[in-house]
Amino acid sequence: MAVYAGPVQDLIDELGRLPGIGPKSAQRIAFHLLKLPRDDALRLARAVVEAKERVSFCTRCFNIAEGDACAICTDPRREASVLCVVEEPRDVVAVEKTGEFHGRYHVLQGAISPIEGIGPEQLRVRELLARIEPEGVQEIILCTNPNIEGEATAMYLAKLLGALDLQVTRIASGLPVGGDLEYADELTLGRALEGRRVLDTG
C-alpha cells in the first residue's frame, strides 16, 4: 500500500525487500534514515555502492571475495586436499573463528528446501564436483546447518559423493557447551547419546 509520496515510498519499498524486514520495520528504518544528518546517510549509501562494486563471489569457492578469488583460496598455507562445504559465506566466518580448520571451503549459497522449490540444481553443487579432481580433494566435510534443510543437503551430497574415491564426513551433532542437559530437545540429546565417545580413563 503506497501511503507516502515519491522518494519516501521508494525508500520504504526498497528496504522492505531486504531479508527479515517487514513493512513496519521498513517504515521505521526509512524514517530513521530521513532524520539522519546528511553525511551519515551518504556514508551508508557509499558503503553499499563500494561493497557492491568491489566485492563479489570467489569464482572457485563462492565465498565473498575482493577480486576473482577469495583470501582463503589464494592463501598457499591452506591445504587443498580438505574441503569444508557450508551453506553461506557467514558460515565460513563461523568456522574460521574456531581456528580448527586449515583446508579450503566451498559455499553452496543455500540449502535444499523442497517447499521453496530449492533443489540441488539451485545450489553450487556442480561447481563442487568440478573442483574435486583438479584440486586433488581427498576429504569433504559437510558443514551445513544442523536443521532439516541442512541435513537434507548433507544427505544428498553424501549420496552423490559416495561414488567417488574420497572421504566424506559430517560435522557432529551434540549439546551446546555450557548449557544444561534438561533444556536440550529430544533429537539433539538423542544424537549426542549416539555420538558419545570413550573417555581416556588412564
Binding site: 531479508p19 527479515g20 524486514i21 523442497p114 517447499i115 521453496e116 522449490g117 533443489g119 540441488p120 540444481e121 536443521n147 532439516i148 541435513e151 537434507a152 544427505m155 544428498y156 549420496k159 551446546p176 548449557g179 533444556y183 536440550a184 530437545d185 529430544e186 533429537l187 539433539t188 538423542g190
Partner: protein, 238 residues
C-alpha cells in the same frame, strides 16, 4: 495476556530477522497458525529441533496483534526416520506443502490434522511408496473430490476402463477416452486406497503401478489447488 495451548505439526518455516523464524503450523484446534519463534535459529535456543517441518509438538502461544508468538514447545514426535532419509523427507515435504495450501487460518480441521499425523507416522514406520499418494487421494475425498472409479463417467460402461480424466472426475472407457491412460493395476490400487483397503495398499512395494498412482495423485492435488507443488517437481532429481 492472551495465552492459548494447542498441539500442532510444523508445515514450514521462514527466516525472520537475525535469529527468529515464522513457523506455520497445522494445529488441532485452530487450523493453520502462523507464529513467531524467537531466537529459534540460535544454537542454544530452548526450542532446539522442536519447531522444524514435520515436528509434532504440544505448544503454547501468546496471541499477538498480527502474528502469534510461540512461548513453549514440547516435542510429541519428531519423526526422526523421515528427517534422516532423503526420499521420505521429500515425500513428507509434498504432503506438508499441500496441507499448507489447503488449511485455513482460524478454521479447525481435525480430520485433516489426524490424516497428516497418520501419514507422517506411517512414513516414519515404513518407507512405503503409496503413503503420500494415498494421503493426497484421501484429502481430496475429504475436500469433496471423489473420482468415479467403477464405471465410465461418460457412458456408464463397466469396462474396459482405460483412461482417467481429472476434469471429468473419473475413469473412461475405450470409446470415450480422454485425459491420461490408466493401467488396470493402477486402477486396482486406486480402488483399494479409496475403497477402505488403505492398509493393504500401503503394503505395496514400489512398482510401475505405484508410480502411476503417485503421479496421478500429484496431478489431482495440483488440479485441485490450481497451482504446482514445488516439492513434487524436485523429487525426481534426487
Amino acid at each position: 495476556m492472551a495465552l492459548y495451548r494447542d498441539e500442532g505439526i510444523v508445515l514450514r518455516t521462514w527466516k525472520l530477522g537475525e535469529a527468529d523464524r515464522i513457523v506455520v503450523f497445522l494445529t488441532l484446534g485452530r487450523g493453520k497458525v502462523r507464529a513467531v519463534a524467537k531466537g529459534v535459529r540460535k544454537t542454544r535456543s530452548k526450542f532446539g529441533a522442536r519447531l522444524e517441518p514435520t515436528s509434532h509438538a504440544a505448544l503454547q502461544f501468546y496471541e499477538g496483534r498480527e502474528l502469534d508468538i510461540v512461548t513453549q514447545a514440547d516435542s510429541i514426535d519428531h519423526f526422526r526416520a523421515v528427517r534422516e532419509d532423503l526420499d521420505r523427507f521429500g515425500r513428507a515435504a509434498t504432503m506438508l506443502e499441500a496441507v499448507d495450501q489447503l488449511a485455513q487460518e482460524g478454521e479447525a480441521n481435525p480430520r485433516l490434522f489426524q490424516m497428516l499425523l497418520g501419514a507422517l507416522r506411517t512414513l516414519s514406520a515404513q518407507d512405503a511408496p503409496l503413503v503420500a499418494p494415498a494421503f493426497f487421494w484421501k484429502v481430496l475425498a475429504l475436500e469433496g473430490y471423489r473420482p468415479e472409479l467403477d464405471v465410465c463417467v461418460e457412458c456408464g460402461a463397466a469396462e474396459p476402463l482405460v483412461a482417467f480424466d481429472l476434469d471429468s472426475g473419473g475413469v473412461l472407457c475405450r470409446g470415450c477416452r480422454r485425459g491420461s491412460s490408466i493401467t488396470p493395476d493402477a486402477l486396482a490400487l486406486l480402488r483399494r486406497i479409496l475403497g477402505g483397503q488403505l492398509g493393504a495398499a500401503l503394503g505395496e512395494a514400489a512398482s510401475p503401478a505405484t508410480h502411476e498412482v503417485d503421479h496421478l495423485a500429484t496431478r489431482a492435488m495440483e488440479h485441485h489447488l490450481e497451482r504446482r507443488l514445488r516439492s513434487a517437481a524436485l523429487l525426481p532429481n534426487w
